[in-house]
Amino acid sequence: MTKGILRIGNAQGFWGDRGDAPATLAAQQPDLDYLTLDYLAEVSMSILAAQKQRDPTAGFTRDFVESLRALALLWAQRRAGGHPLRVVTNAGGMNPRGCAEACAAVLRDAGCKGLRIGVVSGDDVLPILRERGGAFANLDNGRQLGRDLPLDALVTAHAYIGAAPIVEALAAGADLVVTGRVADPSLTVGPCVHHFGWSVEDFDRVAGATVAGHLIECGTQVTGGISTDWLNIPGTENLGYPVVEVSADGGCVVTKPASTGGRVDERTVKEQLVYEIGDPGAYLSPDATVSLLSIKLGGDGRDRVRVTGAKGSPPPPGYKVSATFRNGFRASGTLTIFGRDAVAKAKRCADVVRARLHSAGGEPEQWLDECLGANAAAPVGRQNHSEMMETVLRITVADRRREVVERFTRELMPLVTSGPQGITGYAEGRPRVHEVYGYWPCLIDRKLVTPRVECIEV
């Protein structure tokens, strides 16, 4: 029988979130049906691609496998207790199959035999982009692949596929579904469609689940994290991770486990609803085009907000593709300047470094100096920093040539003895040179993409 309420939690908002969160949330919320874990930001794939290049068995987020170790014991107990927990994650990154095999090994060690892992792949479209370059214009700037960017500069290209293959894996009995790139809300939509038996063309319900997924995909951002009112949020050292209780009509209640810190109220939910959205009348996902303009919020008790009324229509005909390309090198270094006229001294320091680079063979193609503490993050509004006694000078450079960036890293630290009195904060030593990956968003015809599902047994 279909249960009336489906409880879906998120315990990982990004790669770098708390590693103990999955096991903690599962323990705090014993009636949880699904745990979703989101690891992939736009350029995460390029980091994973570099790892896979060094080691073909790598290319997925190892952090998830570590988290699974802590989750395994509890998982076994939940199965024995008759309320199984299922986990859906995009931790597979560049290598979902490899991730699933690493998970299987961990689960076997932990005595979780008999679990089934569903592997969703087919999101990797790099060969298609390489073959048909010109068809993939950059959505941000209209540039043409092949003409404005050499095809061999591409490092990764992944389509944001939707919930359908997740549904297929769950229908095949998967306890854990490991995907590569899928749209973040689809991690939530998949379990809803599977559980309630919705048609994937029931766009209003799918829209409701998409909104639920959007609200929890960044973890604690909906339970008090990055709130305008953060200073008044209780228990920020122990913020609860979010749980949505989804109803058969696609509406949901956003909440968090009792006895955790944080807050879920209309303010935290509204802030996350508007987070990283474009046109609120057409929030695009591969599962539906969602209108956020008909959503209604209502109180439902302490730390509970009811979210209803999302309207859905068919999704766009193409999948969005997130491609990355090699884009040179960069380095960023900081020095602290304390004393009278701190900002003026910092600016002079930046001029010194720049002049020395100029005479040593050329300035980097891109240069930025910022005085942190002097509204560097958003230099708008009133600007008068002449009275400041302290600033952190941050210089960042980028160039296609590694040696130019390396030269910069050697020119910064001499300021410790040649710069103004009060210059300090150099314990980290020379800045490191990083490879830079550019981001190339584009669209691909759905017909060219074939999501695949396979299962492996633990």
Binding site: N141, K270, E271, V274, E276, Q366, A378, A398, P441
Partner: protein
């Protein structure tokens, strides 16, 4: 003059090569005030020092919110921004410092409870 933060809360993040800022009024009267005073032109002028392009505004009456799209505001139109805030996380806080011409009477109907 009244800073926007007395009337609204906000959240920002990156969106393609630009960013968005959602501004949420504390009261229905505050929403009507923001619709009138917080025009795309005002927001564009405010973020001009950061190199923003043409600002678009979407109304979300159901949430009492306005969503602003700020193209080019992160700097580095080609390739990734070098800025300390390459993801536009600070823009919401920045916009909340914008000063608006609001009468004391209006402010009473628009002010948040302070959380």
């Amino acid at each position: 003059m009244t800073p926007l933060r007395e009337i609204a809360h906000a959240r920002s993040g990156d969106k393609g090569s630009g960013a968005n800022v959602g501004v949420i009024a504390y009261t229905p009267a505050g929403y009507e005030l923001l619709r009138r005073l917080l025009t795309p032109a005002v927001v564009e002028t405010y973020f001009k020092p950061m190199g923003v392009g043409v600002v678009r505004r979407y109304e979300m009456a159901n949430l009492g919110a306005l969503n602003f799209i700020l193209p080019g505001v992160l700097g580095g139109a080609s390739g990734r921004s070098l800025r300390i805030d390459a993801q536009g996380k600070a823009l919401g806080q920045a916009l909340l410092e914008l000063e608006l011409d609001v009468s004391a009477d209006e402010l009473k109907r628009c002010a948040g409870s302070g959380g």
